[in-house]
Symmetry: C3
Subunit: 315 residues, 3 copies
């Protein structure tokens, strides 16, 4: 395994889950793998879980880690080609990336969607430049259109909690005061499609995700109908894909509450966090015994470590 | 020992001082204790000494460390319960804390008093939520009402420099351009009361500390009288407790200068740092041979390491 | 070797190059040297390469590292003596430096020229206070007038790429939208003068560097003439030294382009980075096979490690 950008990079779901299981059973058993190896984590955007869990995963494997907050520790980086650099960005990714690559063995990158330029975002121009120029493996810590470490952790969590071989998993949109990328939702759909779970996506009209993610996936515009018989409710806000980056609704009736959870098959509640309480989900649901958001977040360490282990083994 | 929030958490002053002595004698003798253990240091506020000394202490013990600057590396965290989170805080402490706890073995937290809400500050609502939700031991790196790692370092320093069994220790208020919390002063009083030193507190009228800290402690409003025969002068500014968070005086005659030090028993000068020269203390005093502020700061590594050692042994 | 502030601190160029070669051959061969040793890296200014390469170098040697971003993680530090500290700077370097020194074995400092106060800059008041107060070795990660880790890396790079014993090395000024310090240019001249290379400096009139750096160095105001027969073109912007900190020219005809490179002896192109494309150098030159800017940056890890190795051996 070289890079980790999407589900296409893992050998198979079964193999990835097997590695995750081993890692979780004894997270310090593979410390020799990372000796004299360094991971640099680069953040173009804020991060709490991803920052800590990925660093922890690398240290579990015996690696050294360095963290760079772009714009804050360093400076703004230019990503356009051919530009005369007389503005506020003193360095180009074409230099910054290979230089960073020269100081480490694996690069982790977080670079959110701009939500301004749909084409640039969906071409994944930033993370693609990292792959092109880094000279070392690149791990997405959430890129413009996908958040695969999150989706892998989601998968691990569902596997640990499912009561039937083929659970019904519902991805539900919920309201949020700010426009958010589609990355978590896209990625969740992409990973769930590779399982044999029953997947249903529910959202208000206008919030359709991109076709190439949604091909073959059931959409149910009636949230309550979608919830019926569900084993897992995965809540997430995203801004519109078609009216790119727009907020089309702040309808609080989409908030996941106890009444709606009552329609499910005693479903577990999931969210990638950070979550806005009483916007996305009511206190009563997230504080209930059916909420597994903390275990889900804890599995971020496991998904990151499984990914890093597979990459280290192939260095 | 589980958490370290106040002097009540240590087994006894004698035991704590004994551990500190051992640690100072050979700070790398206990590196096995921290193998495969991780400490996360969370800063809601700026830090220089606490940041570096606590991280160093953890590394001396063989631990891995990760640092998170809230609001800067991550985002603002909501601490109120029951709120509809449609404002500028995208995550609640009820999620953030257990998630952080899931990635580490010990959490260190710095969260200053707001100085806005006396009740919230003196109930220690932030650090108390960490204790309630973390699932792992919590170490205060200065909370709203106490700074116990500082006070423990102060105690170690006095023990190293005292010339008599029962030195006279004077805590003196001094002026400062900004309103500061009472945490260092409260905590210093709390620790000194547990020793058999003679403790005198001096400050302008109106700067009385909270009763439950001051019970049984001598207050002398005449600074010069307080200094007579003192073996240690501990200077510190704080804002008013009764007129909560207010600056009642900027009277520079309270600055600790050579003349006042002349009234003492050749006293050592102490301050927790950072210190405003020529506001709190004159250049002549802080640059004199009697100033032990650097040794005092250096002992922050020792107090932190002693605390972490005791916690690691009880994990 | 104690401090590393300028070329005067290394035993000799030959010895330094020999250490660099050993380190590059096996960068993990000296991990025992740094066991139980800690380096603190202090940044008064932004940094990408220096931050990562110096941290990496220290970790290669088995050291622990801690990073402090002044003004951001901590607070503003006062550097003037005798001042009444009632402004926005809560701590003086006279306290901050020895305290930081007490938590580590080596301090690295980045503190750029102010470009406001020529005398303070050229007296190196900040880094000199670190040397005076730290109590441990101090390594410049770029100070007001020199950037010796960069110059050492430049030297290593030229040694690796030179085709003749005495290559012609040309330092050329190039335009930039912002006023930059003279540190990289000063330091490059200082190091090149110690070699037996042929050194030529070219810049528009008014951009003369300080006399004590330029003594005995050839200046050629005609850029094209300077380029003739060159083996290495080293581009860099700097603001004026005489009209201190001023931008006297933004003349884009000084940009290093393919036509000018055609005048050289198939010269390699060098720059310390970050570089403004199509201001300092055209895309065509920096993207050509003759550009060695990435190897040059990669050698920052080597120069830092060689310096730290020599310091650790003399601790």
């Amino acid at each position: 395994m070289k890079n980790f950008i999407s589900i296409k990079d893992i050998p198979s779901i079964d193999k990835a889950l097997e590695v995750a299981k081993k890692v979780k059973h004894d997270r310090f058993a593979y410390k020799d793998l990372g000796i004299n190896k360094t991971m640099i984590l680069i953040f173009f955007n804020s991060s709490l879980r991803t920052r800590l869990s990925t660093q922890k995963a690398a240290m579990n494997l015996g690696m050294n880690t360095m963290v760079l907050n772009v714009n804050q520790d360093g400076w703004k980086l230019e990503s356009e080609l051919g530009v005369i650099m007389d503005g506020d960005k003193p360095e180009h990714l074409k230099e910054a990336i290979p230089v960073i690559g020269s100081y480490c063995d694996i690069i982790g990158v977080r670079a959110f969607a701009s939500l301004d330029d749909k084409e640039a975002d969906y071409q994944e121009r930033i993370i693609q430049q990292f792959i092109d120029y880094a000279g070392v493996p690149v791990v997405s810590m959430e890129a413009a259109t996908r958040h695969p470490l999150q989706s892998f952790a989601d998968l691990i969590t569902i596997e640990e909690h499912k009561k039937t071989a083929r659970p019904k998993v519902v991805l539900t949109w919920a309201p949020h005061p700010r426009p958010l990328p589609q990355a978590v939702a896209n990625s969740f759909v992409e990973w769930m499609k590779e399982t044999d779970y029953e997947l249903v996506v529910t959202h208000p009209k206008g919030y359709e995700l991109a076709d190439h993610f949604m091909e073959g996936v059931t959409v149910e515009y009636d949230q309550k109908k979608a919830f019926e018989g569900a084993d897992f409710i995965y809540a997430k806000n995203w801004s519109a894909y078609n009216d790119y980056g727009q907020i089309l609704s702040k309808d609080r009736s989409w908030c996941v509450d106890t009444e709606k959870m009552g329609l499910t098959n005693d479903a577990k509640f999931m969210h990638c966090l950070p979550v806005r309480r009483n916007m996305i989900v009511s206190d009563s649901v997230i504080d209930s015994k059916n909420s597994i958001v903390i275990e889900e977040a804890a599995n971020r360490e496991i998904s990151a470590q499984a990914v890093l282990k597979m990459i280290l083994e192939d260095l």
